[in-house]
Amino acid sequence: MKSVLKTVGIQTKKDTEMINITELVKKTAESSGITSGVVYITTMHTTTAITVNEGLPDLEDDITEMLFRLVPAGLNYRHARFLHSDGQMAVNAPSHLRGALLGMQTVFPMHEGKMVTGGRQTIYFVELDGPLYRELMIHVIGE
């Protein structure tokens, strides 16, 4: 069994943003040399997420609005203080909680050299506390 791990950087440009990474992931996975196995797509941060949905702007807006509705900005969160290990204010509890709702990872099969997805499935890297330079891992495991 082989394991190929690629780290990809993304410069996000908004506070909250759904970035379609489907083609980036497919291209990276299919150039790994592995033809049969699985592809893990994982964010390296705790205020971003990876999610899969139909690639439509109205759904992107609905998902974003759902996150803001479920996790409003102005509540009395505990994570609202100076974080000594960072040397900066940790006042982004809503970003962490929205990320927790969506999750950090998704996985797809590799079959006969292609990453297999449903016709409407779009893979999103979701920025929840941008703009920041971010990284995600594309990990292909198989033969």
Binding site: D15, G74, H84, D86, Q88, G130, P131, L132, Y133
Partner: protein, 285 residues
């Protein structure tokens, strides 16, 4: 919108050519988050709605043997984006400080002076080295942003940065525009007294003592100063400052917008007061 208080210590571009900067930022400034590309900083300004940002260095040569971003590095960043306004920093404990300041303004084109007594380790009561620096500020007609109050640096000494220590300097240099950072928290009453009495004293909004920026800002404005006093007496002397990267500028902008100030007051805080003290009036942003 103008952010008068940013420290470009998270800009990755600066670290490549300066191996000492990592130590200065971590061990002296007390900031431990991974650097980001310069573009990230510009996008963060965009997201916050900020058109221009003042970049602040801190020269700690005598006390800590380092510069938390040098004047030359500030120039390097200013040359990369016309959205940046560069301030200089000189170490008051160095004999060449007045001449270094003159050079930074006249030769490098920097637009103001940043002093941080708590990190630079000097006393504002030592006229022999403090007065010559303010003399240059007066002659060159440049503003001075002074870190006052608590320092988030683990080795910063707040006792050196108590706002009341500025009173003699304000009396001696009534024409020098001085910005007291973070309302001098926790000595807000001292900063308020100085600003009420002296029209050349400005206060910046980077109040970050605990909780969220909206909570910190609201507490100081409503509970310590009072909304009426803030609106009536400080409307021309409060300037927007975020203290990036201690906090993301978008959150400090949000804190001020949440106050629900009248539109004219908000405009003065976000732009007009800073434009006047930086002498940017008439320049397009």
């Amino acid at each position: 919108m103008i952010d008068i208080h940013t420290h470009p210590v998270q800009v990755a571009d600066l670290y490549d050519g300066d191996p000492n900067l990592t130590r200065a930022v971590r061990d002296v400034f007390g900031f431990y988050v991974k650097p980001q590309p310069l573009d990230t900083f510009l996008y963060q300004l965009d997201e916050a709605g900020i058109d221009q940002a003042v970049l602040l260095p801190i020269d700690c040569t005598t006390t800590h043997g380092c510069k938390i971003v040098s004047n030359e590095q500030i120039v390097e960043l200013v040359e990369k984006s016309d959205r940046f306004i560069g301030f200089a920093s000189v170490d008051p404990l160095q004999p060449n400080a007045p001449k270094d300041l003159e050079k930074a303004i006249k030769s490098y084109g920097l637009r103001g002076l940043k002093l941080d007594p708590s990190l630079q380790g000097f006393s504002l009561h030592h006229d022999e080295y403090v007065y010559p620096i303010f003399q240059v500020c007066e002659e060159l007609d440049i503003p001075v942003l002074l870190h006052c109050g608590m320092s988030w640096s683990p080795i910063g000494r707040a006792e050196l940065a108590q706002p009341i220590h500025l009173e003699r300097i304000i009396h001696r240099f009534p024409n020098v525009r001085m910005i007291i950072a973070q309302f001098g928290w926790p000595w807000v009453a001292e900063s308020l007294m100085l600003a009420l009495k002296h029209q050349n004293v400005y206060l910046d909004t980077s109040i970050l003592f605990s909780g969220t920026p909206p909570e910190s800002f609201r507490h100081v404005v409503e509970k310590v100063i009072g909304l009426e006093t803030f609106d009536r007496s400080l409307h021309q002397q409060v300037v927007f400052g975020s203290s990036y990267p201690r906090v993301d500028p978008k959150r400090v902008v949000g804190a001020i917008k949440e106050m629900g100030f009248r539109e004219s007051l908000e405009k003065k805080i976000f732009h007009d007061n800073a434009a006047r003290l930086l002498k940017l009036e008439g320049q397009s942003l």
